[in-house]
């Protein structure tokens, strides 16, 4: 969905000129709105308010902030729950769609998975806020049965990582199901036929044939989801406003960075937090890439 698979970049792919022309606008935008701001924040992270070199003092200051450790803990809990559920359910659902024989129901399922992803992040969070508020929720009887009579019962601190994971899964998983479904389609039918002839059932085929063959796509999903997950912001920010501040506005690391920039007017500390997040993402991505052998060509 997002890009052509990596394995295609073999010798010779440098030849067509038109290709470069097509990439150019994207490259310009990437430099302007991707690389540029990143470089600027790295500059900010190592300087003080007057532009003097500040060493790592911005990093030590933000790491020593009383809100830092809780924020990191919150994000870690969320990312863990989200990545595990994402991997398990997305793979399962992709396998299910792939197994559906009827072409019409397959199309319907693919469309259904994709719809929630079409809602922009903030609006889907708003939708969930209504769903989770017992006084206005269409499933309020279910919430009451679970013992939640007030909105504040539902958004108790212990529930939040799971709630955010639920929202993120609902909005983001559909696209990934389609990506993995596409990956499953690339597996040659001969291989699957051969497995069948050898007596492999659907489960054995899935575990021994299909999963190893789509491993790269799963790793790819994990890398991007990890990077997105550590940047948790919209969900807690909106829940904070909806709960009139009971969920604090410094729940996640990204929110803390926002607080640094805009309520403490400390853009340098904010940049230090953001650069820290970037480093964590880069390190984890490197591990995933190495372990998942993402760049190996078959």
């Amino acid at each position: 969905m997002h890009r052509a698979p990596r394995s295609r970049s073999r010798a010779g792919s440098w030849a067509p000129r038109n290709g470069h022309l097509f990439v150019l606008p994207y490259l310009l935008l990437l430099l302007l709105f991707g690389a540029g701001p990143v470089l600027y924040s790295v500059y900010l992270a190592f300087t003080d308010g007057d532009g003097r070199f500040a060493g790592v003092s911005n990093f030590t200051q933000t790491a020593g902030d009383f809100r830092f450790v809780p924020a990191v803990t919150h994000v870690a809990a969320f990312v863990l729950i989200w990545l595990v559920s994402l991997t398990v359910f997305v793979v399962l659902l992709a396998l299910v769609v792939h197994r559906v024989v009827s072409r019409r129901s397959r199309t319907a399922l693919r469309f259904a998975y994709f719809v929630p992803g079409a809602l922009a992040g903030a609006s889907s969070v708003m939708l969930w806020l209504f769903l989770l508020d017992p006084s206005v929720s269409p499933v309020s009887s279910l919430l009451h049965q679970l013992g939640y009579d007030k909105f504040t019962d539902v958004i108790a601190p212990g529930h939040l990582p799971s709630i955010f994971a639920l929202v993120a899964f609902w909005t983001g998983a559909g696209g990934w199901i389609l990506v993995l479904y596409g990956a499953l389609n690339t597996i040659s039918t001969e291989v699957v036929e051969a497995a069948k002839v050898d007596g492999a059932g659907p489960i054995r085929t899935a575990v021994s044939i299909e999963l190893p063959m789509i491993r790269k796509w799963i790793v790819y999903m994990l890398i991007l989801s990890f990077a997105a997950g550590t940047q948790l912001f919209v969900e807690p920010q909106l829940v904070s406003q909806a709960s009139f501040g009971i969920v604090p506005n410094d729940y996640s690391v990204n929110q803390l960075a926002y607080q640094y920039a805009f309520t403490q007017n400390n853009f340098n500390g904010s940049a230090a937090l953001s650069v820290g997040l970037l480093l964590v993402s880069v390190i984890c991505a490197s591990v995933f890439v190495a372990r998942g052998r993402l760049f190996e060509t078959d």
Partner: protein, 457 residues
């Protein structure tokens, strides 16, 4: 949102990009100029006591208002069609949103874009806006606004606007706490109106057994401490200087207020729902017997949100603790108007701010809250009374309470409301007592004070 993040971060995996990240800051540091807001030494101060931009009497002014104050800006536009004014709607900085400060920090960074006049509902802006570099709000009592105008505001009205004796804003409305009550229900139940918090507590016990379900107050909003703790003279927010504060939530005054809350919450006469949330209106709106709270509850809560019928709601003098002499009450918000020192048309900005706070055409005819400008306040009360909505004469208790607001609760640069919500309300939602949360409240205030540059004594 997710997808754009996904795509963007996906590119960072490339080793080349990572290498660039390491080299680039050095390059930037070498050629980058100081982008920060260090102001030139205040050499030439203008006629208003601060350094002004080049003035242009025909320059349009930009004003930021919340949805309630939109009427003020529109009324001004109608009264002065020749003044070019651009009205922008924003959240009014309500509920600790910090929008005003957030945007000003961005404009400071960009070096342009400041609104000329801004309305806020919070009381935290003077402390950061008076500092050079963050917002740089204009001092008003150094020549910009005539002393005669400033003197026309109620005593103490400008306390939230003042830092080290300099006034940085014009107060829109006062928000002193009084005791709202449903006279029809109180008469029906045969209860006398309490005058002290001790009597209030005793009455709550009676209500709990005789008329369960009815409420004597609410503590579900972030400003609950400004009603119960402030009135008890709890020293949780004693701002002692521009950047110093003392906090002691273990003080007996805080403990007695916490115990009162715990007891009334336990016997279910104190609601823990937000007054403006959907649950309260739906389930408890018709059950309000007593409601200690600010003067603006009359319009905003009874007429606006829960829509109590005409002729039922009355006002009694603010509750006080029996041992208090003189009696003290709290204050919840009360709007303020700020002028930016960066304005290119200070005269028009000044005229706007003075007009919306003092003119009858807004403060008497349209304003929902008790005007801070005394002449307008008297007329506003008379008009309220004439409306026939109230079940008694509301002016005497409201005027009396205006002079009883305890001055020991300050306005720091950070939001006490956000702290209360984060620590105490979150704890209450888990079932913890307010008294048991006092140490956590103390810790959070100290922490917030420190990261905002305050010295905690």
């Amino acid at each position: 949102m997710k997808d754009s993040r996904v795509i963007r971060t996906g590119r960072w995996r490339r080793g080349a990009a990572v290498a660039a990240l390491v080299v680039a800051p050095l390059l930037l540091a070498a050629c980058g100029s100081s982008s920060d807001n260090a102001k030139p030494a205040a050499a030439a101060k203008g006629p208003y006591g601060f350094q002004t931009e080049a003035q242009d009497a025909s320059a349009p002014i930009t004003v930021w208002v919340d949805s309630t104050r939109l009427a003020a800006a529109q009324a001004f536009q109608k009264a002065f069609p020749n003044v070019k004014i651009k009205i922008e709607n924003y959240d009014g900085n309500a509920n600790g949103s910090n929008t005003f400060k957030t945007k000003m920090a961005l404009f400071d960074k960009a070096g342009s874009g400041w609104p000329d006049v801004t309305f806020t509902t919070d009381n935290n802006s003077a402390s950061w806006g008076s500092a050079d570099g963050t917002g740089s709000l204009a001092p008003l009592d150094k020549g910009l606004v005539p002393a005669a105008t400033l003197d026309g505001f109620a005593k103490g009205a400008m306390d939230v606007c003042s830092i080290n004796g300099t006034v940085y804003c014009l107060r829109n409305d006062l928000a002193q706490n009084v005791l709202w009550y449903n006279k029809k229900l109180m008469d029906e139940f045969g209860y006398p109106v309490p005058t002290t918090w001790e009597e209030y507590e005793a009455l709550a016990d009676k209500v709990a057994t005789e008329h369960p379900g009815y409420l004597v107050g609410t503590a579900g909003d972030a400003w609950a401490p400004e009603i119960y703790m402030w009135a008890a003279e709890c020293p949780a927010n004693k701002v002692t200087g521009a950047t110093s504060i003392t906090v002691d939530t273990s003080d007996p005054n805080c403990v007695k207020a916490a115990k009162l809350l715990d007891k009334t919450i336990a016997n279910k006469t104190m609601s823990t729902l937000s007054l403006f949330g959907p649950e309260f209106v739906k389930n408890q709106g018709a059950k309000v017997l007593l409601l200690p709270g600010p003067s603006w509850y009359g319009g905003a809560v009874f007429q606006g949100t829960i829509k109590t019928p005409k002729g039922e709601i009355a006002v009694a003098p603010a509750l006080h603790w029996a041992d208090q002499n003189p009696p003290s009450t709290g204050n919840v918000g009360g709007g303020t108007w700020w002028i930016s020192s960066h304005s290119k048309n200070l005269k028009a900005a000044r005229d706007f701010a003075v007009w919306v706070t003092t003119a009858d055409a807004y403060q008497v005819d349209l304003a929902p809250g008790f005007p801070a400008y005394s002449a307008a306040a008297a007329k506003w009360l008379a008009k309220q009374q004439a409306s026939g909505y109230w079940a008694n004469d509301i002016s005497a208790p409201i005027i009396a309470a205006a002079g009883q607001v305890w001055p020991g609760w300050g306005s720091a640069a950070f939001s006490q409301e956000a702290i209360w919500a984060k620590v105490v309300q979150a704890g209450m939602a888990k079932g913890d007592s307010v008294e048991s949360l006092l140490p956590a409240w103390q810790k959070e205030i100290e922490n917030q004070a420190q990261v905002n540059g305050y010295k905690v004594n």
